[in-house]
Amino acid sequence: MLGADGHILGDENTAWRPSTVDVPDEAPRGKLDLMIDLDFRMTSTGLYADVVLPSATWYEKYDLSTTDMHPYVHPFNPAISPPWEARTDWATFRSLAQAVARLAQDHLPARDDLVMIPLQHDTPDELGQPLGKVRDWRAGEAEPVPGKTMPRLAVIHRDYPNLDQMYMALGPLARQSIVCKGIQISGERAYDEFASQVEACRAPGVAQGMPSLERDESAVQAILTFSGATNGRRAVEEWEALERRTGLSLSAIGRGHEAEAQTLQSITAQPQLAMATPVWSGLEAPGRRYAPFTLNLEHQVPWRTLTGRQHLYQDHELLLDFGEGLPLYRPPLTLPPFASGDTHVPPNEARSVTVRYLTPHQKWGIHTTYTDTPQMLTLFRGGQTIWISEEDASAMGIHDNDWVEVYNRNGVIAARAVVTYRIPEGVAMMYHAQDRVIGVPGTEITKDRGGTHNSVTRVIPKPTHMVGGYGHLSYGFNYYGPSGHQRDTITWIRPLKEVKWLED
């Protein structure tokens, strides 16, 4: 995909292969026609991109930040204007939309696409697999009914020539309804409120007369106006909607704040306590901070599960087949570092050790951010490291700060060893996302630059996460679905005899 070698040493065809999907013997390889990176840091993504767009940092733009575990929505305000050619994300995407729309006039007319949508959480799709039985319409076990026995199908109108206008306006769908966590309110009032706060689009075309989102401040304001956490009227509307749905008396929780409408200016002036809303847990009720399941425990709102209660036993047939009807301990997988058919790694004269490989979060960065600054690098060892036990180090005959190769069928890493008695024998720990832009030499095995902490891991989807269409076991974006599980890794480590910087 990047036009670079991933240095996978494993034989792709030794893995289990599904019988119902056509898998070619050789996975297709190639390079993306165009890779664009929008980042204010030169990460390895930037190094492999065809185009790097200069991006404004947090201190050069308007934006919002919050979590659902504290009751504040924080504004970002530019301390300085973006320097040089840097633009805010909003401005960058606006420019891209304009460029695409201009070219689309001649080259990319509007079209309709048919897309598949997984059976969704908080919708009637949750009834897709009654009694937790998988009925495969492909095997004739059921009629193919979109949204019931198969994913939903939808026709999406993609209006490329009008992309820029649609990007810069709040469109009519927002006026119809706002839906979150199964709670639906009308968007009419929010839309009109927002329209009264910003200018309307003037240019003739699809967006004419609609409230403008041209500026990033307007996008921020739209979010604040449409969210019950920052707009008291929305909060009441959401509580009333939940009240209608549950038959419980809930709207009093939101009352008293109807006149409050936080704005970018008001939360910039000083932090403002958000408002309680059923779609966000940052504030559970006036004076009630986040605690898990407060809505269900203190207001008797049914859990969003199959039974509407705390739900421990899972009777979906896939979970039962895997023996996971009830929570249980699963020992780590013991996938071997290499299998027959894999690329042979010729031994060097040094001894290697086999370790269980862990990748916890580091304290010198948030993922790769900050890890490459000279100060954070100075505050530890100034480059990629892997922690190993004193027993394993002595078995390999290496000392603290010596270079090692970490390798298995998934790839090869070059790093310096941090030897310690803090971790037990047989375990190695490589802190997450140190990136490979700083001081990473070549490896003896690949004769190419060493990889990152994830070079020896491999994504292994957990089959039970594929269950869908059964109550709470239904897909919700960023909430429930197959996740990239890549932690049960066993790898080999051996001394790296010679440091080569590969500057050719």
Binding site: L47, K363, L377, L379, F380, G382, G439
Partner: protein, 507 residues
């Protein structure tokens, strides 16, 4: 009695998470410039470990601080005669390798690299020589979280005499963080070491500073400071040190390290002390008596005689009031849970530490049925050996450490008893020697105290500024502002003179 006031600091090690935010913000503000690359006025050490600079506590090697000879206080490194003899080759001077050789990266190559066979990578290079280095070999936090293990941790000077209490093995691992700044001592050996008198302890707030105009770069302060918190700038050839962020302190604001501390472990407040008793306190025979001696140098601001005497020394009401509300006074004197770092150096340091509790070594059977009595026993089974904490904070007196740990455990158990009601805290209350009310106040200050409770800092005393109107008018432009003043008096005077001139010429 000669009363002085000092803004002092306490760090609660129980809450330090070793994030180094204090170090980074300090560096960004103060030492991010040529000549200061290797300086970390604030650093955080993983203990056990040799620290920064390496093994700085080994005074047999560095000869920092004071010692008692024939009952009299002397600089351990020797007086003026020794200094003169070694002025061009000070044997006690740390070398750059004791700190580390600062390095940077060839970041440009990530942007400018031409198309090549292999992905470009920013290689490290020495910030001193510019030479490429394959891998740095030491840094200011090289042994973070026991990195380096048995090859490094046992070089901690504190563990050399504690072998029977310390094991460097997985099952018996212990670890703590020690954030450090200049101690702004009452009896600073850096000040005494300087051959040209360039270092001074400020009268108003006790902050120790280097006069950059007077400093001649002889560097005896660097070896003379037992905490190794004096640094030599190779660019200016002058000594530099933690300034306690005096421009902020003067404005009533906490130091940058305190302000930005994520764990909120730092406290700042005023302590009144009797300058006339400093020498006597620093000269007590037994190093284990130095803690008590220093406590006796401090004065009780609630005592009306002290307040009156302080006023007579020119300490204003706001400072006396601040001394009464000082979180430092509470932690160090009222509750006695804060202790000085290495009192045996006899400098009477003014940055004190609350020692850290740690998990207990052995598995607790039937924890749910544990009595207050059992929790008392747990104090003796904590992972961090009390002997280790005593080596850091009490010149080896384990009983003082135990007293503090009992108080901290009593506080937790008492608060648990109040909130949950499932432990009997009577034994602990009795053992701690503190009242329930004190423990509750301490729990508040150590647990949830807000900004203005943690930092009680009066603004600088400005009653004696000779010409405030002029300073206001000049507003930092004293160099070009007319010395006779600008506004309003000078202009009024000038206009009046002109009027008189006119009337004269008219006449």
């Amino acid at each position: 009695m000669k009363i002085k006031a000092q803004v002092a600091m306490v760090m609660n090690l129980d809450k330090c998470i070793g994030c180094h935010t204090c170090s980074v913000t300090c560096k960004n503000v103060w030492t991010n410039r040529p000549g200061a690359e290797y300086m970390w006025w604030n650093n955080v050490e993983t203990r056990p470990g040799p620290g920064y600079p390496q093994e700085w506590e080994d005074q047999n090697h560095y000869n920092g601080g004071w010692e008692l000879r024939d009952g009299k206080l002397h600089l351990k490194a020797g007086g003026p005669a020794v200094k003169l003899a070694t002025i061009f080759a000070n044997p006690n001077m740390p070398t750059i390798d004791d700190y580390y050789e600062p390095w940077t990266y060839d970041y440009e190559t990530l942007i400018n690299s031409p198309r090549r066979e292999h992905q470009p990578v920013a290689r490290p290079r020495s910030a001193m020589t510019g030479d490429w280095i394959d891998s740095p070999t030491w840094g200011p936090n090289w042994d973070d979280d026991l990195a380096g293990g048995r090859a490094i941790a046992p070089r901690d000077p504190n563990v050399r005499d504690l072998q029977e209490h310390i094991a460097f093995e997985y099952e018996r691992t212990f670890m703590m963080y020690l954030p450090r700044i200049c101690e702004h001592c009452l009896n600073p050996s850096c000040v005494a070491s300087c051959p040209v008198g360039a270092i001074y302890k400020r009268d108003d707030d006790g902050i120790v500073l280097v006069d950059q105009e007077t400093c001649r770069g002889w560097r005896f302060c660097i070896s003379g400071c037992p905490y190794k918190k004096m640094y030599f700038n190779w660019n200016t050839h002058k000594a530099e040190k933690c300034t306690f962020c005096y421009p902020r302190i003067e404005a009533g604001l906490p130091t940058v390290c305190s302000e930005t501390c994520v764990g909120r472990i730092r406290y700042l407040g005023v302590v009144l002390y009797d300058a006339d008793r400093v020498l006597e306190a620093a000269s007590v025979a037994n190093p284990q008596d130095l803690y008590q001696a220093q406590l006796e140098v401090f004065l009780n601001p609630h005592d009306p005689r002290v307040a009156l005497a302080a006023k007579e020394e020119g300490i204003n009401d706001a400072w006396i009031e601040a001394a009464r509300n000082s979180p430092i006074y509470k932690l160090a004197l009222d509750w006695r849970v804060a202790l000085p770092l290495h009192p045996e150096y006899r400098t009477l340091p003014m940055v004190w530490y609350v020692p850290s509790l740690s998990p207990i070594m052995n598995h607790l059977a039937h924890e749910e049925q544990m009595s207050g009595q059992a929790y008392l026993a747990a104090v003796d089974q904590m992972r961090i050996p009390m002997e280790y904490l005593a080596s850091l904070l009490t010149a080896g007196d384990v009983s003082l450490i135990r007293n503090v740990l009992v108080r901290l455990v009593a506080m937790r158990m008492h608060m648990r008893q109040r909130a949950v009601g499932d432990v009997d805290d009577t034994t602990l209350l009795r053992e701690s020697g503190m009242t329930a009310r004190d423990l509750e106040d301490m729990a508040r200050l150590l647990g949830v105290a807000k900004y203005d409770e943690r930092f009680v800092i009066p603004t600088a005393r400005c009653e004696d500024i000779p010409d405030p109107e002029y300073l206001q008018g000049a507003c930092g432009l004293e160099g070009i502002a007319p010395p006779e003043g600008i506004w309003p008096q000078s202009r009024i005077n000038r206009e009046r003179e002109r009027e008189i001139d006119r009337s004269r010429s008219d006449g």
